[in-house]
């Protein structure tokens, strides 16, 4: 029986993704999200117009996996770099890929002001509630009670403050046109993540304005869990603090 004849080509390697294995840990969400972005870019037919900004953090060499023009940015400065590129090349499609430390801690100011200027940019924001690259320290989005290298007794509100809901904060700004929080904890939610990323790119193509997708993403290594446990923790703990769905 010829499957291809009956079903068509249902799975192939995205053109926007290089054929190489990643350096990410087993169960990490970065590889999945890289692929979703590549699929979306292929489907929108914009690979030759896209300029991506890779962050500082585990995804620092995202440009080694994607197959389109990319820039690095200093930690937290991705949206400033993206602003410079987009203002010079408004016809190109410019997106940033940023973690929670990059976007919500060290780059908080750049994030707020790029959003407030209503830059016509797309942001993919990976929230895994931890600093992966540097060895599992507290992120601004680390949950209450969550253990990390710098909160060995668990995050205490008195000492470390609350998990930062930057997406809800950004939703208050009139310059922001679209914010959705999604999750990688199930196939259904991965597909919803892809749809949200596609919407955020489509918005830029249509000139709608600042669009951000926050992706709740597993980090089994620094959560001290198996990949399966990590997905359950997203569903049972993380999604309670950071409810998924359309925010704006």
């Amino acid at each position: 029986m010829n499957h291809e004849l009956n079903m068509g080509n249902i799975y192939s390697h995205p053109q926007s993704l290089r054929e190489k294995s990643t350096h990410y840990c087993p169960g990490c969400g970065h590889g999945t999200t890289h692929r979703l972005i590549a699929e979306v870019i292929d489907e929108l037919g914009i690979r030759e117009k896209v300029i991506g900004i890779a962050p500082v953090g585990c995804a620092v060499i995202a440009y080694d996996y994607w197959k389109f023009d990319c820039s690095e940015a200093a930690h937290g400065r991705a949206l400033a770099v993206a602003t410079g590129i987009k203002r010079i090349r408004p016809q190109n499609i410019v997106f940033t890929y940023q973690g929670d430390g990059d976007l919500a801690a060290i780059g908080g100011n750049e994030t707020i002001h790029a959003a407030n200027r209503g830059e016509n940019l797309t942001v993919v924001f990976i929230n895994n509630a931890i600093y992966g690259m540097t060895g599992g320290q507290m992120a601004p989005t680390t949950l209450k009670g969550q253990k990390s290298a710098t909160t060995p007794e668990g995050r205490s509100v008195e000492l470390h403050g609350y998990p930062l809901k930057i997406s809800e904060m950004l939703a208050l700004l009139p310059g922001v046109k679209y914010i959705e929080r999604t999750s990688l904890d199930s196939v259904a939610n991965i597909l919803k993540t892809k749809a949200a990323i596609k919407q955020a790119f489509q918005n830029q193509i249509d000139g709608v304005g600042f669009s951000l997708v926050e992706v709740l993403s597993p980090c089994p290594t620094y959560w001290g869990m198996s990949p399966q446990e990590s997905l359950r923790w997203i569903k049972e703990a993380m999604s309670k603090e950071f409810p998924i769905g359309r925010i704006k």
């Binding site: 690979r47 030759e48 117009k49 896209v50 300029i51 620092v60 060499i61 440009y63 994607w66 197959k67 389109f68 023009d69 990319c70 820039s71 690095e72 940015a73 200093a74 400065r77 400033a80 770099v81 993206a82 602003t83 410079g84 590129i85 987009k86 203002r87 010079i88 090349r89 190109n92 100011n109 750049e110 707020i112 002001h113």
Partner: protein, 350 residues
């Protein structure tokens, strides 16, 4: 040649020079004494179809410049000393990624918040790699409103030619003072520099990456060595300086920027009295114009370095002269500016 003369401040002349030289992108954050510069860009960039952004911080501004430059545009930012400190991170990344950019520092006195008076106390920061990682900036030091304008053409051309950040090191005195400026029909060499490395979208080619990050063993060292080679070439080719009455001089003043204007006044006054005094005025601070000193085979010549600092360029003069001639120093900072009288007193006691 079409010539027009206008009365304009140093800060405004820098901005107009940049625009004429093809600057397509400016981002900055206000700080005294360089606010006329950002104000001029705000008014004149949009009307000429260029990009002006008042950034949320100096960090954002320099990183916007990183982005605009990586996208192939002539891009610049400006600030004054405390703001330039904030930009050092971005300048290091720009240097690391071999991106052209122009950064203007209209120096004020420090350290810390200091005050808003002119100073030359950022020489070390400008010429020694102010950020991390051991890179070099090409540093130009204009000494008049005319040079504020003219040097912007050189700054952008040098930045593109060597794919390297260029700093214009002025000071509050130079930025604020007004002088007649001759707007010459000077052609920018912008068209000479193609940018096949720029991020434009990968249509018809392999993707371009703007980066300073090299994880694979040996790759960063290779990048470092390539940059060292570039720096050596810049040192060989780009030393610039002005000589004023140096041929028969027994004592040569060494000063740059505003300080050189005052030093020139000293030379004029003492020459009138028949004293054999001259001036070497470095126009590039990096590369430091060593040839101005080493080409002079007269070890008996004394040098008197004058700065609005407590001796920073002095170290480059000492390194260059290498003990072969006597080097004296006079400087004030913290807002104090050496006067002609003070310098003449020092000349006569040297």
């Amino acid at each position: 040649m079409n010539k027009t003369k206008i009365l304009i401040s140093g800060n405004e002349a820098i901005a107009e020079g940049a625009i004429q030289a093809g600057c397509a992108f400016y981002a900055g954050y206000p700080i005294t004494p360089q606010n006329e510069l950002i104000g001029y860009f705000a008014k004149h960039m949009p009307e000429r179809g260029r990009v002006f952004i008042q950034a949320e911080s100096e960090l954002a501004a320099i990183n916007m410049v990183f982005g605009a430059s990586s996208a192939g545009a002539r891009a610049m930012t400006s600030s004054s000393s405390p703001g330039i400190s904030l930009k050092q991170e971005g300048i290091s990344y720009i240097a690391g990624a071999d991106l052209p950019a122009v950064i203007v520092n209209i120096q004020r006195a420090g350290p810390g918040l200091g005050n808003i008076w002119p100073a030359q106390s950022d020489y070390f920061q400008a010429t020694r790699a102010g950020g991390h990682g051991g890179y070099r900036l090409i540093v130009l030091a204009p000494a008049s409103v005319q040079e504020c304008y003219d040097f912007m053409f050189d700054a952008f051309d040098l930045a593109d030619k060597y794919r390297n950040p260029v700093m214009i090191l002025g000071d509050g005195l130079l930025g604020q003072m007004m002088e007649p400026l001759e707007i010459k029909d000077r052609r920018s060499k912008i068209k000479n520099y193609e940018k096949p490395w720029a991020l434009t979208g990968c249509k018809g080619r392999e993707p371009n990456i703007a980066k300073s990050f090299y994880m694979v063993e040996g790759d960063l060292e290779e990048s470092n060595l390539r940059q060292q080679k570039k720096y050596k070439l810049i040192q060989q080719k780009e030393e610039r300086w002005e000589e004023y009455f140096v041929k028969d001089a027994k004592i040569i003043l060494v000063a740059y920027g505003s300080m050189a204007r005052i030093a020139k006044g000293v030379v004029n006054r003492l020459r009138e009295k028949g004293e054999r005094i001259g001036l070497i005025r470095p126009m590039t601070l990096w590369p430091f114009p060593k040839k101005a000193f080493t080409q002079r085979p007269t070890p008996k010549t004394k040098y008197l370095v004058i700065e609005m600092s407590y001796g920073q360029m002095l170290e480059d003069v000492l390194l260059t002269v290498n003990g072969k001639s006597k080097v004296e120093f006079y400087g004030r900072s913290g807002g104090g500016v050496p006067t002609e009288e003070e310098i003449i007193k020092k000349v006569h006691s040297a």
